[in-house]
């Protein structure tokens, strides 16, 4: 019995060891599995756990300000008050909205929209009820908040343009991101934020990347239901760069108001030496604040179909035959080519004959004997008709280009158009015909194919009076690290005495007794200006009309001549150049010269050139043209995944 017991005990011990080994083995397997999960797969699971717990929310950066040369804000961010409702904090969502309706009027479909949204989203997600609240409404809600559980007021940002109409064409406006813009800006996640606005036109569009800033983000710890538990990390992002424009906001406002006395006009005032654009206006304008706050369909249609094109910036996109304002180009080309000199004269009987064609001077009775100065002062066409054929169109076109026509300056205003300066090659390429000498005659007084923008005319005037330097217009104070107002413009290589002759002619326009714009001289001593009138035909005057003596004023508005004027002041030592185009305004001396006079007088009174442009870096913003830093793409794995 005892032996048997011993034998069983031994068998038990053997089998117990087998079992023990099995248990030990299983323990090792479990330990190994744990090590595999925690070491070999640790990184992967850590990422998954972080994705579970962290919800990254992007914060829209504040858009950079746009200011004028003195730091006066042209585009700012206004606080936008919104009222939000959190369904779970209300006893009854519908009743809560009804209560709110008694304080702030809500539309029927906003209520139904919110009720629908509330069904779809989690109860703790706040829903926007109404935005763009005014102070009165905010105060009313604020006072009643204790009786309105679940409601809260939230402050967002709304782009606002203090100068409204007068800077609309330069600044442009912002609007919701469309699909194309989203596709073009893939690397910037901020565009995907609901309600984010992007620059649509003007500087807002051209410098959108600088103004945008970089998105911030908040890392929220969320639980399994997605409820936010606490804030882990916050990066407010960086505010967009401040953009300083060469514009003088007050001068700009004055210009816009002055142009408003016409039906449709545009004007440019710039610095003849630096190229700084002080004012650039196009009338009629529009209020860009309408676009950021929501414009009515009716008003939009009105803007779109107005024959005066309020949405277009005519100062850079309007292309007009320069008319007599082109005569300085022809004069310089003649002088440079040696075809005329200061002593050259011509007799003007009121017309000029070339072959079988007769070209009329604007003065039917004729100017009699003229030289280059009186031809400019009295705007005699015959003088230019006569000598233009001696040098041909190509030399005139070359001078036009040297003086700044027929080109774009690409200075951050996306609408800019290039104008047109025809020559022999151009006609053969685009029309497929040989250039006719008669066309040179027409071109010599700025008619025919030639087209120029008011900006180009202002540049041309600047180059004529600044000593022949190739100044270019600019509107943004910095290009890279380079301050534009310190730029040294290259010499065009035009003889100084020729420039001086042309300038004397332009002075005489305002000063001599037969000057075409004598009546529009600035009546302040020391501020006197020089300039040149121009009248551009919209419709060719037929022989029948000429005989019948149809006057321009009798024509329908849209068929009347454009009135042009280019000028500079003070004429002794020019600093400001100005170009004005009054669409269908009639004669340049009557319709455009008085506008230019007022603008140049105001420019000299304010004298923006005497103050240095504020730096864009003075508030910590560094380089204007630097693209915003790239952020890593935000990803979010489903928190339950």
């Amino acid at each position: 019995m005892i032996e048997k017991d011993n034998e069983r005990a031994k068998q038990f011990t053997r089998r117990a060891f087998v079992m023990g080994a099995l248990q030990g083995g299983i323990l090792c397997v479990l330990g190994g599995r744990l090590a595999w999960l925690q070491i070999a797969q640790g990184t992967r699971y850590k990422t998954l756990a972080e994705n579970n717990r962290i919800n990254i929310k992007m914060l829209a950066p504040s858009r950079g300000e746009i200011v004028d040369r003195f730091g006066v804000p042209l585009a700012v961010n206004q606080q936008n008050f919104r009222v939000l409702i959190t369904p779970e904090q209300t006893d009854d969502l519908k009743k809560a909205l009804k209560k709110l309706h008694q304080i702030v009027e809500l539309e029927e479909d906003t209520v139904t929209k919110i009720l629908k949204q509330a069904e779809k989203s989690a109860a703790f997600v706040p829903l926007e009820v109404k935005d763009n609240l005014n102070w009165d409404q905010v105060a009313k809600i604020e006072v009643n908040l204790p009786d309105l559980p679940g409601l809260s007021i939230d402050v967002g940002e709304l782009r606002s343009y203090p100068f409204a109409d007068s800077t609309a064409h330069i600044i442009g406006y912002v609007g919701a991101v469309n699909k194309k813009e989203l596709a073009d800006n893939k690397e910037d996640p901020v565009l995907k934020l609901p309600g984010y606005k992007i620059g649509k036109t003007g500087i807002e569009k051209a410098l959108d990347g600088d103004l945008r800033g970089s998105a911030g983000n908040v890392e929220m710890e969320v639980n399994v239901l997605g409820r936010e538990v606490r804030e882990l990390k916050r990066d407010d992002g960086s505010v967009g760069n401040r953009v300083v424009l060469s514009i003088d906001a007050e001068l700009q406002r004055y210009t816009q108001e002055r142009l408003a006395q016409t039906r449709s006009a545009s004007a440019v005032i710039m610095d003849v030496h630096t190229g700084a654009v002080y004012a650039l206006s196009s009338h009629p304008g529009f209020d860009p604040n309408l676009f950021t706050r929501g414009i009515s369909e009716e008003r939009w249609q009105e803007l779109l179909y107005d024959p005066a094109f309020p949405l277009n910036n005519k100062a850079i996109a309007g292309q007009y035959p320069p008319g007599s304002t082109f005569k300085m180009v022809t004069a310089l080309a003649l002088l440079e080519a040696g075809a005329v000199n200061s002593r050259t004269t011509a007799f003007c009987p009121g017309h000029y004959e070339l072959g079988r064609d007769r070209f009329h001077c604007w003065k039917r009775s004729g100017h009699g004997w003229v030289n280059i100065i009186s031809a400019l002062a009295e705007s005699c066409d015959t003088f230019f008709y006569k000598y233009s054929t001696d040098i041909g169109i190509d030399k005139i076109a070359d001078m036009a280009r040297r003086l700044g026509l027929d080109q774009k300056y690409d200075f951050f205003l996306p609408e800019e158009r290039p104008g047109l300066m025809p020559d022999k090659g151009w006609k053969e390429r685009y029309i497929g015909q040989k250039w006719q000498p008669g066309e040179t005659v027409v071109a010599s007084i700025g008619q025919g194919y030639i087209q120029a923008t008011p900006l180009q005319l202002a540049v041309m005037t600047s180059r004529l009076v600044n000593g022949g330097r190739a100044v270019k217009p600019w509107i943004v104070g910095m290009d890279g690290k380079h301050a534009m107002d310190k730029h040294n413009w290259e010499d065009l290589g035009i003889a100084k005495e020729h420039l001086d002759l042309v300038k004397r002619g332009m002075n005489a326009v305002m000063l001599s007794k037969n000057g075409t714009a004598r009546a529009s001289q600035i009546p302040v001593e020391g501020m006197e200006m020089g300039g040149k009138t121009g009248t551009a035909q919209v419709k060719r005057i037929t022989k029948a009309e000429r005989r019948a003596g149809v006057k321009n004023e009798d024509l329908e508005w849209r068929l009347r001549h454009h009135a042009l004027f280019v000028g500079y002041a003070p004429y002794t030592n020019p600093r400001y150049a100005c170009a004005v185009v009054v669409e269908h305004g009639g004669g340049g001396s009557a319709a455009a010269a008085p506008v230019a006079r007022d603008l140049l007088q105001m420019a000299q009174t304010r004298d923006p050139a005497s103050t240095q442009i504020v730096s864009s870096a003075d508030e910590g913003f560094d380089i204007l043209r630097q693209p915003p830093p790239k952020k890593p793409s935000f990803f979010k794995v489903n928190s339950n995944g």
Binding site: K4, D5, E7, R8, A9, Q11, F12, T13, R15, A16, V18, M19, G20, Q23, G24, I26, L27, V29, L30, G31, R33, L34, A35, L37, Q38, I39, Q41, G42, R44, Y45, K46, L48, A49, E50, N52, R53, E221, V222, N223, V224, L225, V229, N640, G641
Partner: protein, 377 residues
Amino acid sequence: MADHSVRLKEEYSFLERVFQINWGLILLLCVVASVGFAALYSAANGSFDPWASRQMMRFGIGLAALLIVALIDARWWYRLSYPIYIVGFILLIIVEVMGHVGMGAQRWINLGFIQLQPSEFMKIAVVMALAKYFHAATPEEMRSFRFLLPAALLILAPVGLVLLQPDLGTSLMIIMAGAAMFFIAGAPVWLFIGGFVAAAASVPVAWQFLHEYQKKRVMTFLDPESDPLGAGYHITQSKIALGSGGIEGKGFMKGTQSHLNFLPEKQTDFIFTLWAEEFGLTGGVFLLALMGIIFAYGAWIAIRCRHAYGRLLAFGLTFNFSLYVFINVAMVMGLIPVVGAPLPLVSYGGTSMLAVMVAFGLVISCNVYRDSKLPRM
């Protein structure tokens, strides 16, 4: 052999018995239970309420029960083995007839002050009954089919009832514990090989009898990613929690998966996950090592015991405990399907705690009375 009276060769004084108690083993149990307290404290976001404090109270009660059971003469437990089995069996029938629904299965008897889970006690009772049955078995009997059949019925009868509850996990655990008893009692090895083959062959048949949710659990286990938001969610989130713990863990009370409720049932079935998320591989291996030492301790007590009943009982109960540990830990690591088994001593739960402590009381009793002579029937 005709004399059936119990012969008590020795009587121990109270102090002698207290001295014979394996205080080392009790210390180990306390350490493991403390791991549980810490984990439950963390699970409640740094609060003793609602779990840790109650668990401590239950452990106190369990400890008292352990000491009482340990101090009772093993020969009494020997005599009471069958009656206890019968009581457990009756309780199982009661739970089947009038047990009320909890967690989708009928497993509880509400006694007013405690919710009793008879299947927990049945696991102990089956081991006790088998230990008694095999106590006096001769090697010849162990090879006899007629002798082994009643023992098999001792296992299969409660398994049948538990399956009706339905509780597949517990049924399988009783079968495995029973099979272990057969093995250490000396049943022939071919029996196990044959049993294994038969079990494998019956899997397709058994599949038909599984409940829908059980099938789903198995399917999900085989391919957890197939249903990441449904039944596979538990496994996936548990693996994320474990894996993200790394070597050193996220720190006490800093487990994100558990505290943000990504981890399901963190205070019960997934308490090991919480522990290993916060204390990492270091903490996980520490706990597994503690468990391993407890297994070894139980086996050592069993081997030292001079009567077969004690050897079988001590080893069987310890093995039962280890089965629990294995199944729970393997489950949370995604090695086996989710079966809903707690981690003994650590998971929050009254019945399980009490059952484990009583079982170790019996193991220690076997140590105290290891030299006693037990009768042969």
